[in-house]
């Protein structure tokens, strides 16, 4: 039980470091640590396959993509645009208002939370695959089209056009 609170504290700490770090490269590295703590959360929730996918896709692929773009554009602390303190304070206050609103609405919610099912198998590959390929077959196929579209779009957008360059 205490593992959850410890890991949750780590996640919140590194998430805060992500948005408050001055150097963008440090920001990306803190976000990688945040995603690693999320992987631990998935393992604690018995979602073993999601933990592996989160580890490979988020930490391995997406974060490396961010890091590559940061390094490609040669961004560091000196090129970091600064926002005025007034806007920062107002942003933090607005965020806190959102949090208070959410927490206030959750007080009405009567989540019991102790009715955890003993079935520890639902997070395994076989079980998820059965659901994914029977109940969610159409969304699965559509998401493949989404990924293809994104790939074509990214290549088209980032391609250096010799006529306009």
């Amino acid at each position: 039980m205490s593992i959850f609170y410890f890991v949750a504290f780590l996640s919140i700490f590194f998430a805060l470091m992500t948005i408050f770090a001055k150097n963008p490269v440090h920001s990306v590295l803190y976000l990688v640590i945040t995603f690693f703590t999320f992987t631990i959360h998935y393992i604690l929730l018995n979602a073993q396959f999601l933990a592996i996918v989160n580890f490979i896709v988020y930490m391995g692929a997406i974060m490396v993509l961010f890091l590559f773009v940061l390094m490609l554009l040669n961004l560091n602390k000196d090129t970091e645009p600064l926002k005025s303190n007034l806007v920062k304070v107002m942003g933090v206050i607005a965020g806190m208002c959102l949090l208070v609103t959410l927490a206030g609405s959750f007080r009405v919610l009567q989540a019991t939370g102790v009715d955890i099912v003993e079935n520890t198998e639902i997070g395994l590959v076989g079980n998820l695959g059965k659901v994914l390929f029977s109940e969610f077959l159409l969304p699965f196929e559509i998401s493949s089209i989404l990924l293809l579209t994104a790939m074509v779009g990214a290549v088209l957008l980032a391609k250096n056009d010799p006529k306009n360059a």
Binding site: F4, I19, L44, Y58, V87, L102, I116, V131
Partner: protein, 109 residues
Amino acid sequence: METIVQEIQGVPLNHYILFCSLIFTIGVIGVLIRRNVIIIMMSIELMLNSVNLLLTAFSAHSGDPSGQVFVFFIMALAAAEVAVGLAIIVMVYRNTRSVDINALNRLRG
């Protein structure tokens, strides 16, 4: 395996909801206070991940694998979003030599 089950049995669902909304709020604050486009996109990733974790928590607490399948779709969507978004950032940087979000406020046709 048994110890892990006992581990999460002690954590009420309310605490997961609060924790995920806290991470979501941190993402919102990151979007509001930063001007670097890449860090804004990273904050969006943070928000998507908090939603993923909450869906998984609901799925584990109700014993229904559908929640975890939704997480797959969100992950595919996040990957597509990052690819297109970073391509747009690279293109904008090539034109304006900056990743400042304020450089985008004078869009011309």
